[in-house]
Symmetry: C2
Subunit: 293 residues, 2 copies
Amino acid sequence: MSAYFTEDGSVEAVNGRMSADANPRLAEIMASLVKHLHAFAKETKLTPEEWEVGIDFLTKTGQICSGERQEFILLSDTLGFSMLVDAINNRRPTGATENTVFGPFHVPNAPVREMGTNISLDGKGEPCLFEGRVLDLDGNPIEGARVDVWSDNADGYYDVQQPHAQPKWNNRGIFVTGSDGRYSFVGIKPVSYPIPDDGPVGQMLGYLGRHPYRPAHMHYLVTAPGFQKVVTHTFVGDDPYLQSDTVFGVKDTLIAPFERGTDNQTAWRSPFDFVLVPVHRAESISCNEDQRA
Amino acid sequence: MSAYFTEDGSVEAVNGRMSADANPRLAEIMASLVKHLHAFAKETKLTPEEWEVGIDFLTKTGQICSGERQEFILLSDTLGFSMLVDAINNRRPTGATENTVFGPFHVPNAPVREMGTNISLDGKGEPCLFEGRVLDLDGNPIEGARVDVWSDNADGYYDVQQPHAQPKWNNRGIFVTGSDGRYSFVGIKPVSYPIPDDGPVGQMLGYLGRHPYRPAHMHYLVTAPGFQKVVTHTFVGDDPYLQSDTVFGVKDTLIAPFERGTDNQTAWRSPFDFVLVPVHRAESISCNEDQRA
């Protein structure tokens, strides 16, 4: 082989240049990235003009990023990459609650509220009672689990997107379970909304003939001492975008019932139990899952 | 298979979402990109924390770009991607002059100069006579070929990098061949220099234990009616960075002799012939090369 770069030996030419002193994990990641990126160029016979378009796209994607906007995360989300990274790192046994994308709208340290509290502070939307239990794999209630919830309002915006138009902590709260493992709160039946689509990623979706909508969902971050963190949503089962979530976040097991409520206070009721996996079982369970796959 | 995203079916979930109306070439490129990016994540079992570092790197790479700086091209160059795209698109028969990276420092419409002109206008560096012929594959001289040349100065900077410290068009010029196909000009023996390494790409190179240097080279853009454009460099054969060009631009056939000159005017002499491929032979020759590979 030539001592220099060749088309056939392109991967070896680049990866052979890394120092033996480089961080081993960084070296592993970069070597894999170079291999797969070169395979992409070879498979498509990418032209210089096409790559110029790509460079321009990446540049614009970086330049639109700001404190309030992360277009590369949108890109990762819309190419299914975020969901894939989440899936690879959160393989769980059957019966455990599955993860989905975290999204950019979580705010840490929301107020801890009494069970049953109404978190919709702007009075918009259809009230919905969310309730259920936090359980272990054997069905035992978990005490002291923190159920951190957040959703958009009836107009399809999170409070942080409209800091002047929505009350602070609108549609957010943390609920801590007692010995029965139960949680409950009143929110609104969430509504579907588009991701920000006025930038390069929105343009990409347009060229691919894809819409920018996410089906309606309620966000949950459920934590409990000794258990793996669950980052997930529950989805409204009759949403027209369920099959075409632009960030691929929907899973069969996360579609929750939304039933008409039995009292006047709550127009809807959505029951859902969270099943958590112990931290110490994560490794072996993950391996079993691998073998079954 | 689930109607929704799964780890195993991640590629199909994303690519199945593209509209049948999308531009077929764009759809082909995006489908391949998604396939290879997902394979990368699966192979490395990329963690969310690692991907956060990646998102941050891509964002910074975009944000440092300006009218004068293109960090994504640097990234592409230093990962061998630019050279690969060039190689895929410029397969040529044995004997033809090979391409290498264009680089960011070409300026169109340089002055057309008389053969033999000294293009080093700042008086720095070791003078060198560059001379040779532009030929077709049968060794016949090509008349009317435009040999567009550019190099850094003896301090390692192109004129456009130092608009106030260097004369305009320093170390640049276009030479048009006569019926003998000959070109000649006096420049300087080029010097090696680092690519801009004070940004994210320089940091990446540092983490990988790689230096940012390019071996000394003279740039050429050679065009002639009826022939394929050649974008290339000639390299100084005794440069210490020849084997480790940070953008992988060196090819065996592009290393030029640099000999001590025979007169006092030019301390060095570097002869090099350019061999061009007819435009109309490009397709079939490229296919033959494919079969031989």
